[in-house]
């Protein structure tokens, strides 16, 4: 009996190990696709650190080893962020990327960072799943002399990292509000009754976008009827929108979805309820993130405006690493540049936080030119 239990446990362990190893394998097999110019060199490069961590410890061969603890792959945005890192930190650029998909498990992410320290990577990139609980592990990185670069989400309880690279979510929210104001003026819409589908509760993107939009809404005296979380998923957006349609049918004319996946869900729910949206529809639909399929929907007139949240942090991170290699001190906070996409040419410029920014009318070239 005991023997059998032992065997089963051993089997369970093997299975879970296989699953973890497989996760890395999945990531490395994705690497050759973007690095189409050198597919043969990219694949072994990504595999090597997993099998022979000791060999990388020296790092004296000019190859920069970078460990990247990614959140997961819960959305297309995340996939684009991962792809961007795999492209930039490819072997052809003199990098060796150790990629870990943490599957939205913060414990796994801490473990991944500790593994990076043990493997002796040269730089660690973290997209923190949670904002707190980082001080201990970042101190360990500091003691090991490995510079840490934070991307996308933020860390609240430690400043033992070199730089943070990401989006200014509040600016995104403000831009959304400013555009809506200008658009409503241009279209002669006097009253704004908005429904908001928020992202995951407590996520910095949710907080920033909500704050930014609310600031404009308060200033303009708009009515935000309801604001509930759709967890950044299509299923969540669908369920919240379904509920909104039942509660407030005919009472709203704007729907703000805080990411593209939620917008997809909201569209299905509005289709079912028989509510028209987009260009010429009863409801102005606004989304954030601006992934290519959803920029296409802007062009098709299904989404009125889409506010980019640029996932391509990797090129900026690469610049920071090069600065560090050259002995320079990079800035503590670096924002990536972002664009605003719209379906109609009613508004061409908006003033966000005092600076004038262009609004891009989506054409086929714009869609084709999207990197993700």
């Amino acid at each position: 009996m005991k023997k059998i239990l032992g065997m089963a446990l051993a089997f369970a362990l093997t299975l879970s190990l296989a699953a973890c190893g497989g996760g890395g394998g999945g990531a490395s097999s994705a690497a050759p696709a973007p690095a189409a110019d050198q597919p043969s060199s990219a694949a072994p490069a990504a595999d090597a650190p997993a099998s022979q961590p000791a060999d990388n410890a020296g790092g004296g061969d000019g190859v920069i080893t970078v460990g990247f603890a990614q959140v997961g792959h819960e959305s297309d945005w995340r996939t684009a962020s991962t792809k961007s890192a795999q492209d930039v930190f490819a072997a052809s650029n003199g990098y060796d990327l150790v990629f870990v998909d943490c599957d939205n498990d913060s414990a796994r992410q801490l473990e991944a960072v500790r593994n990076f320290i043990q493997q002796g990577v040269d730089y660690i990139i973290i997209d923190p799943i949670v904002a707190t609980g980082w001080d201990t592990v970042l101190t360990e990185c500091d003691d090991a002399g490995i510079p840490v670069i934070i991307i996308d989400r933020t860390i609240d309880d430690s400043d033992k990292y070199v730089s943070w690279v990401g989006s200014d979510f509040k600016i995104e929210g403000l831009a959304c509000g400013e555009w809506l104001k200008a658009y409503a003026e241009a279209k002669g819409i006097s009253e704004i009754n908005a429904l908001v589908i928020e992202g995951s509760t407590g996520a910095s993107a949710t907080i920033g976008r909500t704050e930014g939009f609310k600031e404009i809404a308060d200033r303009e005296g708009w009515n935000i009827i309801a604001s509930q979380s759709g967890d950044f998923t299509e299923a969540g957006g669908q369920e919240v929108m379904e509920s909104y349609c039942q509660s407030y049918k005919g009472q709203f004319n704007v729907v703000i979805c805080q990411n593209d996946n939620e917008a997809a869900g909201a569209m299905t729910a509005m289709d079912t309820a028989g509510i028209s949206y987009g260009v010429g529809g009863d409801v102005i639909l606004v989304s954030f993130d601006a992934n290519r399929p959803y920029v296409q929907m802007v062009k098709d007139g299904k989404i009125n405006a889409n506010f980019e949240c640029n996932p391509m942090a990797a090129p900026t991170v690469s610049e920071i690493i090069q600065q560090l290699e050259a002995g320079e001190t990079p800035e503590k906070q670096v924002y990536v540049t972002e664009s605003w996409f719209v379906a109609e040419d009613a508004v061409s410029k908006i003033t966000v936080n005092g600076s004038e920014q262009p609004v891009i009318l989506v054409t086929q070239e714009v869609v084709d030119g999207r990197p993700y």
Partner: protein, 355 residues
């Protein structure tokens, strides 16, 4: 006499609970100055059934389907299958992977399919059975505790799903795939699928001796074996069915969003399924079970969620409200509380008699 019979019926308390949850909405609507039965208005708009009640039946389908399998597993093996949520995700990923082809992240027309849709669906159901058989083998034939045995797939199945999908969300954006989570005529398909599953299983349980076999194995495995039942096979079959239910629920959930979002499909749904069994008045210690109770339990959970949406409660505090409601429901059904109620009633009766 008849009054006593109603209150002692095993379905009485679960039904009271679901009605209590619905009553909250009536109170809310009255306080908001809406129509008293605003929550219950069901109409056909845009060619399909609409209304909060329909939402509860529709959105509750997955948990209801899971609850069928979970009830049998709990009854036969006195343990729970905690892998169902992950298995849902795996089955959905497998279906979309088969249909779209490995490594493809989106297909938008049937011409791009690498395999016909029916192959994907059958594959997913088969995968569900396979996972169920794996759990069943561990529990029935290797005598591993159910929670430990199903812990393996709880952690591994979702990860395998991720591998199958090459770490991407796979979109199968065709109306044919959306039908399982959409509408047939004016009726939401998930309701139909759940109804068919419930009918099929209850027919088998009622018309054959299977229901009795499962209960007897759950009450005493050894005695059942001595009495001539193949206890191990019965437990195995229960887990197999539970896996199949997870496969069906996974398909429905993935069809709603016409994609395989392996990170989120069925996330924490195993807990809802277990809760549904408990809310239905079933003992998690195995033995006697009441399938109808579990189904009512499943819809109670969805009724709570839908109520939260209706009340517009901020999503941050929703879990707290849910927890409070669940505590109240479970406490009402707890044996000491029931006995206390009975005593109270007896006392009243006595006093009335004395007067």
């Amino acid at each position: 006499m008849t009054k006593k019979k109603i209150t002692q019926h095993p379905l009485f308390l679960p039904l009271v609970c679901v009605l209590l949850v619905l009553a909250v909405n009536v109170i809310y609507d009255i306080s908001q100055g809406n129509g008293i039965f605003n929550f219950f208005i069901t109409t056909i708009e845009n060619g399909v059934l609409q209304g909060r009640l329909i939402t509860i039946l529709n959105r509750g389908s997955e948990v209801a389907i899971l609850a069928i399998g979970m009830t049998l597993v709990v009854s036969a093996s006195a343990g729970t299958d905690i892998s169902v949520g992950s298995v849902m995700s795996l089955c959905a990923s497998f279906c979309c992977m088969l249909v779209a082809g490995y490594g493809v992240s989106a297909v938008s027309s049937p011409e791009e399919f690498s395999m016909p849709l029916i192959v994907g669906i059958l594959g997913a159901l088969l995968m569900g059975c396979l996972c169920g058989a794996f759990n069943g083998t561990l529990v029935a034939y290797l005598n591993i505790q159910p929670m430990v045995a199903t812990l393996i797939l709880w952690s591994a199945a979702r990860a395998i799903g991720l591998l199958l999908c090459n770490n991407l969300i796979v979109y199968v954006r065709v109306p044919e795939y959306g039908i399982f989570g959409g509408y047939i005529g004016f009726l939401p398909t998930p309701i139909l699928i759940a109804a068919v599953c419930i009918l099929a299983v209850s027919l088998v349980l009622k018309k054959t001796a299977m229901g009795m076999y499962i209960q007897s194995v759950g009450i005493n495995k050894k005695a059942s074996r001595i009495a001539g039942l193949n206890s191990r096979r019965i437990i195995f079959i229960c887990y197999l069915l539970c896996g199949l239910c997870a496969g069906i629920a996974g398909l429905v959930n993935s069809s709603r969003i016409t994609s395989a979002d392996s990170n989120n499909i069925g996330l924490n749904m195993e807990l809802d399924a277990i809760l549904a069994v408990a809310l239905g008045g079933n003992s998690l210690g195995g033995g006697k079970f009441n399938l109808a109770g579990s189904i009512i339990g499943a819809y109670t959970i969805q009724a709570i969620t839908t109520t939260m949406y209706n009340l517009g409660i901020s999503s941050a505090v929703t879990p707290v409200f849910k927890a409070v409601v669940v505590i109240v429901i479970v406490a009402i059904q707890a044996p000491p509380v029931r006995i206390w109620f009975q005593k109270l009633r007896a006392q009243n009766h006595k006093e009335v008699a004395r007067v």
